[in-house]
């Protein structure tokens, strides 16, 4: 009763549990009403969310994340969908005691995105959702991220510490300067507004927090606080629990790339891709990238 023929669908894929996908999708949701662009391919699903031409988030769901992935479209189908609605519908599949595998299918008879529970002998309910998709009216902004200089300027910090620092910077408000200096190697977040607050990550003093640092020249860029906050505001608890790191890379003109890794398998779930030592294979990780444009100053602060 649950499955119809997959011959007319571009994509039919199954997930063991919707919880991890909800975590990943929630990471790129920074406001209630948000449209996402979804692109399907034989390699997986990419979901793109944008705001004001200044902030873009990309969620990469590789085909290995899915328990099964049947792709038979020509080209790369794209559609728009309400991100909040997609999360709300996926939430129906995570009722305690009803938690179950979910099948995702596109397109339905009216180009909908179809979600259905995968029937099992123990299931007492068949759960379904049909989400209307939209024709994407704009081509998503290509950030054309290019490293500044021969060596990319970047640092990797514990995701939990990054989130905490950005949350603390809310108090001064306004915008946040990120300053990297090579000697001594240090990353500073500085906000000025109702007061001043500067948070420093010293590389040699905090190697457990600042896990990697690559910078051969001092740089300083300013970003709007609300955009910076969007990169960590809905970071799932699994990211901090798994003690993951986030990588921040600075491109040409100060374009900031923030990368997170989100597990899409519940740690409590026994899965063949988790070995006895608890090591989780990369195939069960969703990759998230945020691109944040810097604020344009009449009097540039960047002296690089």
């Amino acid at each position: 009763m649950t499955s119809s023929s997959s011959s007319s669908s571009d994509l039919v894929c199954q997930l063991d549990s919707a919880s991890g996908l909800i975590d990943a999708l929630s990471s790129v949701r920074w406001k209630r009403s948000q449209d996402a662009l979804v692109e399907l391919s034989e390699h997986g699903i990419v979901l793109i969310v944008e705001e004001s031409g200044c902030l873009q988030a990309k969620l990469y769901l590789k085909r290995e994340i899915f328990a099964s992935y049947e792709y038979q479209a020509e080209g790369r189908p794209r559609f728009g969908v309400s991100l909040g609605l997609l999360i709300d519908c996926l939430n129906l599949f995570t009722v305690p005691g009803l938690s179950r595998a979910v099948e995702i299918r596109y397109p339905g008879p009216d180009m909908q995105l179809l979600l259905e529970s995968v029937e099992s002998p123990s299931s007492d309910a068949f759960i379904f959702a049909e989400i209307r998709t939209k024709i994407p009216d704009t081509i998503s902004w290509d950030y054309n991220f290019q490293p500044a200089g021969s060596t990319p300027i970047s640092f990797t910090v514990k995701s939990a510490a990054l989130k905490e620092a950005i949350d603390d910077l809310e108090w001064p408000g306004s915008s946040v300067q990120i300053i990297l200096q090579p000697n001594p190697p240090c990353v500073s977040f500085r906000a000025e507004g109702h007061g001043d607050l500067q948070i420093d990550f010293m590389y040699y003093a905090n190697t457990d927090l600042l896990m990697a640092f690559h910078c051969d020249q001092q740089i300083c860029y300013r970003y709007k606080y609300k955009f910076l906050r969007a990169t960590t505001s809905n970071m799932p608890s699994s990211v901090t629990k798994d003690k993951r790191g986030s990588k921040l890379t600075f491109g040409m003109g100060g374009l900031l790339k923030v990368q997170h890794l989100v597990s899409v398998t519940r740690s409590s779930t026994q899965h063949p891709n988790i070995d006895a030592s608890g090591y989780q294979l990369p195939s069960r990780i969703a990759y998230i990238e945020f691109f944040v444009k810097p604020e344009v100053d009449e009097d540039p602060v960047n002296d690089a």
């Binding site: 009763m1 709300d88 129906l92 009803l98 007492d124 309910a125 068949f126 759960i127 049909e130 209307r132």
Partner: protein, 312 residues
């Protein structure tokens, strides 16, 4: 007009631990309707602009001594705020739990709250401890007139009409959790019930349709076997066929009303049934209680809700 009764420990337990919390979630203001044999809570029965609910107890289920006298066939009705009633009973229950109480006596009383002010009606809880007596007065409305009592009685009789087909809700707590999650998707819920034992609960908006289908549920009342051709059908097609054949009914209602009715699971019912009144007049949710230690229906306690439907 007199009412005086003594609550049993079991009666206090049932009300305080289970029912009053549930009833307070369903509605704030309730009619209390006392008859020679029953103690009944009624919510919204005289105006069907929201969820209607009836919780009925035989006098033996709650009281050891029960005396009532009035000129309206020994029936008395009044309204009260459930939160105040609940608070008074919790106070009595805590004294009983401390082990010093000799009983909780409930009676109707008129008391002057201000000097030279008029006498106000109260439902008085008197809890006799070892060395002291604690009295908690719950303000109530003036007793209903004989005409209003007749109207209440007639509304109660019509509210107790049972739909021809009732299907058993598989798991109340899961259903409650599931319905809560629909709140972000839409606010109108469509509920369909077939005579085969199928239940379809879905929210439909211009952007999405989402829900759950349950099959082969227990059925009370009119029950027919599903046609062979529908066995392999997808659940919504099967429901449409059942509606065409007149073997199913479907209603639309406010999701918040359905969610509110499911708050009755706080009363710890042993099972629940859903049914749609003939001509799709309303959705009825009936909660069933078993005699402890058995699977026999406890006829001394009943709880059900009727939910208004949206005309389509």
């Amino acid at each position: 007009m007199k009412f005086k009764a003594s609550l049993t420990n079991h009666g206090i337990q049932i009300l305080e631990k289970r029912f009053l919390h549930a009833l307070d979630k369903v509605g704030k203001t309730w009619h209390v309707y006392l008859t020679p044999d029953h103690f009944i809570f009624l919510h919204n029965l005289l105006s069907f602009d929201g969820i209607q609910s009836v919780a009925q107890f035989s006098k033996q289920a709650l009281f050891s001594d029960y005396r009532i006298a009035s000129q309206t066939g020994n029936r008395i009705a009044f309204t009260l705020e459930m939160a105040l009633f609940y608070s008074a009973l919790r106070g009595s229950a805590s004294i009983c739990a401390a082990g010093g109480a000799n009983g909780v006596h409930v009676r109707l009383a008129k008391k002057q709250t201000k000097s030279n002010g008029p006498n106000m009606p109260f439902l008085t809880f008197e809890t006799q401890g070892g060395n002291s007596t604690v009295i908690h007065d719950v303000p109530i409305s003036s007793p209903l007139s004989p005409g209003d009592i007749m109207e209440l009685q007639s509304a109660l009789e019509s509210a107790q009409e049972i739909p021809p087909t009732l299907v058993q809700v598989p798991d109340l707590a899961k259903m409650q959790n599931f319905v809560e999650r629909h709140k972000n998707i839409g606010d109108i819920l469509k509920v369909s019930v077939t005579q085969y034992g199928d239940l379809l609960v879905e929210v439909a908006t211009t952007l999405a349709i989402a829900g759950a289908a349950y099959c082969n549920l227990g059925v009370l009342g009119v029950h027919v076997d599903a046609p062979a051709e529908s066995q392999a059908m997808k659940v919504r097609a099967r429901m449409e066929l059942a509606l065409e054949r007149g073997e199913a009914l479907s209603v639309e209602l406010k999701l918040k009303h359905f969610a509110k009715s499911l708050q009755c699971c706080l009363a710890e019912p042993d099972s629940a049934f859903l049914g749609i009144a003939p001509q799709a007049g309303c959705l009825t949710v009936i909660f069933q209680f078993f005699i402890p230690g058995t699977h026999q229906n406890d006829k001394s306690i009943s709880l059900h809700c009727r939910l208004p439907v949206i005309d389509t």
